[in-house]
């Protein structure tokens, strides 16, 4: 049809606005596909991995070995297996946690190479191997024995390879896990054993009671309280959330923008429309013709965006693969995601533009030919504005803003959204940074040795501590688990600050402020908790609330021991500012502050990549939106601009009058997004934090608020400079050709 030739020509005549819309659609489809393939694929892979490899429901350490494993398995319908482990110093600054291969619980999968077959075979985690230049066939010496790496492995209880429960970030260079056969491990005298249990019924409490009868549970951890197991869930969930929110917001913004310029296109073509009606064209034909504009955008943006999304999902998955030790990631629901991604732009664009087009086409032919419906109307608000006290320039700008509320609103929403994305990266960065700094400020020790049983001999060096998981009911009556610590009241390596940032003496019993808020406690209140292992009631009097992101209670160790009926002077850990010589077989873990710092540095490097991606997306959204909307605004003011030029207005002055209000809109949009991001981050961190059992604070520093503002304002000014070129190109002849108002 001849009309179709016009589509191509009109698009080419207004390249920038169609290209901008196309890019936004492409971006939203790319993000949708990327996040919705990677997030669910990771979740699916992890779920299957946990199911197939029988991930533990809990792990625990007993004072004495359990001698009736088979009976217990039968009686409680459980899988119970013990595993030996030890932290081996591979190098001065590097530790490999050696794990015994299991057959029933936390079974391993090979990600590369061969399974354990012969004595002396060893499997290692891929990222540690990569960071330390180890390959299949490389040899590792563990104590007196030499082992050959036969492959890389993953196990469901070590998806996020954290050395201790206090670590936040992985350091692949300094810590890794390796697997050897049970037989080989039995030849190594060092190390200790713990049990892993998988329940098939709701009988964990009965089982615990049974094993406590003639034995003592030294440590018990449910799988959902172990950060190295659960962190990946929060990460994958946040991908799913981003994938189901961000692309839709971009699509909604694009949809409004396309509707606005399709309406402008129609308005400019009222006379042509009327003429086509007069020539005998049917409404349905014209409707199809105008719908072809959003159709072209949707089909191009949808298909290319989806293809780009497939590649983007690979990038996102590679982040997971680097961060987590997973078996081969398998795609989940890929075809349905691709299908939805391609049709999404249609779902958004076609109905809205249909309404807009239909509204124009239902006008009578005569009205269209006379263009009588296209007279500029002065709105209700504009008529009632009392602006006589302002000078002309201010009045002109205010009227321009009121007249173009729809477009200004779109710029506002677009800028606020782009700023949110940008601030998200910085806020995430600042929040993690705050957590890390807060941790480093609180725990100034260089080493933290945790024993696998209660110690009674006074240490040669260091400050003693004890700890136990406790449960208490929160304000809503829901049971929550946290750690209660006992600490030497003269300790110098742990430093608390109260809510006014004043130091708190360690002869006080303190509770972290977020935990106190959850439990509805204040200073002077009694916390009625229960020891999770012994189920002993622990009435704890709270002396002070302290500022921290973690959930904990600290008390003097003598009070802790008394409450728990532990021998006076006993302890379970030592904090030290120097390395201590302690028999490895006595230890569960050793936390090295230096490794944590290194891990944090690596993590921040990854964060910078994320900041770059978010910055680029924000820049694109901001640039396209401001450019397209401002260009529309310039075109709808073409006659006035042309006339102003004839009257002697310079381009600069016209630019300031026509585009000046955008300064205000951009600033407003940005500053609205600042408190909004803190609220949204708070909600997101609540979800992630609940899986990591921490309270991630939602923070953003003033300097970063300023940097983001400069970035957004630069984006706006860059876009404005492009628009000004367009403004300069408006000819004075346009005004001379004008007919009527």
């Amino acid at each position: 049809m001849v009309l179709n030739k016009k589509v191509k020509r009109t698009i080419l005549e207004n390249k920038s606005r169609y290209l901008g819309s196309f890019l936004l659609i492409l971006l939203s489809c790319m993000l949708y596909t990327g996040f919705n393939i990677s997030g669910p694929s990771v979740k699916h892979t992890v779920d299957e991995f946990r199911k197939d490899n029988k991930m533990e429901d809990a792990s625990f350490i007993m004072q004495k070995p359990i001698d009736n494993v088979t009976e217990l398995e039968r009686e409680y319908n459980i899988l119970l297996e013990s595993r030996k482990t030890l932290d081996y110093k591979y190098d001065d600054d590097k530790t490999i946690r050696i794990l015994g291969a299991t057959e029933k619980v936390n079974k391993y999968s090979i990600t590369n190479g061969n399974a354990l077959k012969n004595s002396g075979d060893l499997l290692i985690d891929r990222e540690f191997a990569k960071a330390n230049k180890l390959e299949c066939g490389s040899k590792i010496k563990i104590y007196q024995g030499e082992y050959v790496i036969t492959g890389f492995f993953s196990t469901p209880d070590y998806t996020y390879i954290l050395k201790t429960e206090n670590d936040m970030v992985v350091n692949h260079n300094a810590f890794g896990v390796a697997l050897i056969s049970k037989e080989d491990f039995s030849n190594i005298p060092e190390g200790y054993s713990y049990y892993m249990v998988k329940f098939n019924e709701e009988n964990a409490a009965q089982f615990k009671e049974e094993i406590s009868k003639n034995n003592i549970i030294v440590k018990w951890q449910n799988a959902d309280e172990i950060t190295r197991i659960t962190t990946i869930d929060g990460d994958a969930d946040s991908f799913v959330q981003v994938g189901s929110l961000v692309p839709f917001i971009i699509l909604i913004i694009t949809c409004v923008m396309v509707s606005v310029f399709i309406w402008r296109l129609l308005r400019d073509e009222f006379v042509q429309l009327g003429t086509l009606y007069a020539l005998g064209y049917k409404k349905s034909v014209l409707l199809r013709y105008y719908l072809s504009y959003p159709f072209v955008l949707a089909i191009c943006g949808g298909i290319l965006g989806t293809i780009a999304g497939v590649f983007f999902s690979k990038v996102l998955m590679s982040v997971f693969i680097y961060k987590y030790n997973l078996p081969q990631l398998s795609g989940h629901n890929i075809y349905s995601t691709l299908f939805v991604s391609i049709i999404l732009p249609f779902i958004f664009l076609i109905p809205v533009t249909y309404i807009v087009i239909h509204k124009a086409l239902k006008r009578p032919a005569l009205e269209l030919i006379k263009n009588s419906g296209n007279k500029v109307k002065v709105g209700f608000i504009e008529r009632r504005l009392k602006l006589q006290f302002f000078n002309f320039n201010i009045r002109f700008r205010i009227k321009d803003m009121v007249r173009n509320l729809q477009m200004k609103g779109l710029i506002f929403v677009g800028i606020a959204f782009a700023s949110l994305l940008l601030l998200f990266g910085f806020a995430a960065n600042d929040s993690i940074n705050y957590m890390f700094t807060s941790m480093v400020d609180t725990y100034t020790n260089e080493f933290d040795y945790k024993f696998n049983s209660i110690q009674t001999m006074a240490p040669e060096y260091g400050e003693i501590e004890s700890f136990s998981p406790v449960i208490a009911k929160d304000k809503n009556g829901k049971e929550i688990t946290f750690i209660a610590y006992g600490i030497d009241k003269n300790a110098k390596l742990v430093k608390f600050k109260d809510l006014d940032s004043n130091p708190v003496r360690l002869d006080n019993t303190v509770i972290s402020a977020p935990l106190a808020a959850k439990l509805g406690l204040n200073e002077g209140d009694i916390l009625n908790a229960k020891n999770k292992l012994s189920l002993k009631e622990l009435p704890i009097k709270i002396d002070k609330l302290v500022e921290d992101y973690n959930n904990y209670v600290y008390m003097p160790i003598d009070i802790f021991n008394k409450l728990n009926d532990y021998p006076q002077g006993s302890y379970m850990g030592i904090l030290s500012d120097k390395r201590l010589e302690i028999d490895d077989s006595k230890l569960v873990s050793v936390l090295v502050a230096k490794d944590q710092k290194e891990g944090f540095k690596t993590y921040m490097e990854l964060e910078k990549v994320m900041l770059g991606i978010l910055g680029l997306i924000s820049f694109m959204i901001g640039l396209i939106l401001i450019y397209v909307i401002t260009t529309l605004s310039i075109e709808s003011n073409k006659q006035s601009i042309s006339l102003m030029k004839i009257l002697g207005y310079g381009d600069k002055k016209i630019g300031s009058l026509i585009l000046g209000t955008n300064n205000f809109i951009v600033i407003l949009g940005y500053f609205v997004s600042v408190p909004l991001i803190l609220v949204l981050m708070g909600k997101l961190f609540e979800v992630i934090g609940s899986q990591m059992n921490v309270n991630i604070p939602s923070r953003i520093s003033n300097i970063n608020i300023f940097i983001c503002f400069v970035f957004m304002f630069f984006t706006y000014k860059f876009s404005e400079s492009l628009c000004k070129r367009k403004l300069a190109r408006i000819s004075m002849a346009d005004s001379l050709k004008n007919r009527g108002e």
Binding site: V376, R395, I646, L647, G648, Y649, A733, S735, N738, R739
Partner: protein, 232 residues
């Protein structure tokens, strides 16, 4: 001599075919005179007024307005020239629809160094009571009067009127011409009117006829008729 045009030439390229709009046009005008330029479509009237108004460029020749050759001016200087020295009145008024009558005049006063009082100007064109109305609430003649007030508020040295009565009926056209004539007398503004309408020539001091880009008649009118007596 207030205005002196010498050997003015202008050619447009419509595709590959050159179109000569002005072929060596020369003319003069004294301060305070009304000049009517007559001619059929395509005779070069609009090109001449556009170059004179500083919104188009000459290929050759000189246009000296009050001692300044505007063909030598750069873009910025031309903007200043339009701002300070020229007032435009268009056939279709070209008012800004979202601005009130007052504001449509003010948009011009806003950039002028020494503008006339806006209310005084509106009073002069008989629209003092309509200052808060929007253009679409006015008749064609009233809109053209706003356009004249807008042109005159910055006290231009020359008023360029492009078919000022072309879109008006007889009564309204007479009103507008009367106003132009009064303004000319009151402010001693030099006025240049281009029109198809031969009858308007009777109110001008000078009449120039253009055909195919050339002046075919250039005469002084000694028998001036006031606008209200002009008929067509």
């Amino acid at each position: 001599m207030f205005l002196e045009i010498k050997n003015l030439k202008k050619t447009y390229n419509a595709g590959n075919v050159p179109f000569i709009a002005l072929k060596s046009v020369s003319m003069t005008l004294e301060k305070g005179q009304i000049c009517v330029i007559l001619g059929p479509s395509g005779s070069g009237k609009s090109t001449l007024i556009n170059i004179l108004g500083g919104i188009d460029y000459a290929d050759e020749g000189t246009v000296v307005v009050d001692g300044t050759d505007i063909t030598k001016l750069k873009d910025k200087q031309l903007t200043e020239y339009r701002k300070d020295q020229v007032g435009f009145v268009f056939q279709f008024y070209n008012l800004i629809p979202n601005l009130t009558v007052y504001e449509n005049v003010e948009i011009s006063a806003n950039i002028s160094k020494d503008p006339e009082d806006i209310m005084k100007m509106l009073d002069a064109v008989g629209l003092k009571d309509s200052k808060d109305k929007f253009p679409r609430e006015l008749s064609g003649g009233q809109q053209q009067r706003v356009s004249i007030a807008r042109a005159l508020v910055k006290k231009p040295k020359i008023l360029l009127c492009d078919e000022p009565t072309g879109a008006l009926d007889f009564e309204m056209a007479t009103e507008v011409l009367k106003l132009i004539s009064e303004i000319n007398r009151k402010f001693n503004t030099t006025v240049l009117i281009i029109t198809h309408n031969n009858a308007i020539a009777d109110m001008a001091n000078k009449v120039i006829k253009l055909r195919s880009g050339q002046i075919v008649e250039d005469r002084l009118n000694t028998n001036l008729i006031s606008p209200e007596r002009i008929e067509w």
